[in-house]
Subunit: 120 residues, 2 copies
Amino acid sequence: MTRFDSLSLTFNDQGLVPVIAQDHVSGEVLMLAWMNAEAVAQTLETKKVTYWSRSRQAFWVKGETSGHVQTLVDLRVDCDRDCLLAVVEQVGPACHTNRRSCFYTSVVDGAERELMKPES
Amino acid sequence: MTRFDSLSLTFNDQGLVPVIAQDHVSGEVLMLAWMNAEAVAQTLETKKVTYWSRSRQAFWVKGETSGHVQTLVDLRVDCDRDCLLAVVEQVGPACHTNRRSCFYTSVVDGAERELMKPES
């Protein structure tokens, strides 16, 4: 059994790994964001999914201000150890546009089609 | 209706966007890889999911040598236009380790646990 060490991941030149958040029940892909080693460790410890905000250059405990928290159900590492999959319980919309998922635009026959509306 | 232009995406400083591949039936997240604008355009045109290999610095038509092809079912753009979700039909394993998904390692109580074996 290998102990998991967040420092064993392969980070990009900004010290980050991409993290895919997936709904633990529906399997829906909700969003992609980034973590540094400390955010990975905090997420595992607190079970509150915590990203690194590249725009604010600060930790971002998902839902801390909006209430749209993500509770960690399972964290998975990919074969190259340079990407994570966070299986989560998502309260409300995951997207800052108030939609359940950030992936609400589909490309159909060369045109963009909106798949879901913001929640009210 | 907005025409989709792959050049309208937000690429990183290497000209790439991360792409999540998801099984169109099971919803399983299979892998994450990268595309440049040309790979996005080729994928839409051919329906054969085509990445940009960062290690080989070349186009990578998924499954071209292994036979484990990904056929595009739907391509989705996220709210920030800097990440894509490719909903795909996957033949055989998506992972180069011969597992269905690259995310076969789970972190449970601080230890790594293998969730699936290579297909034979």
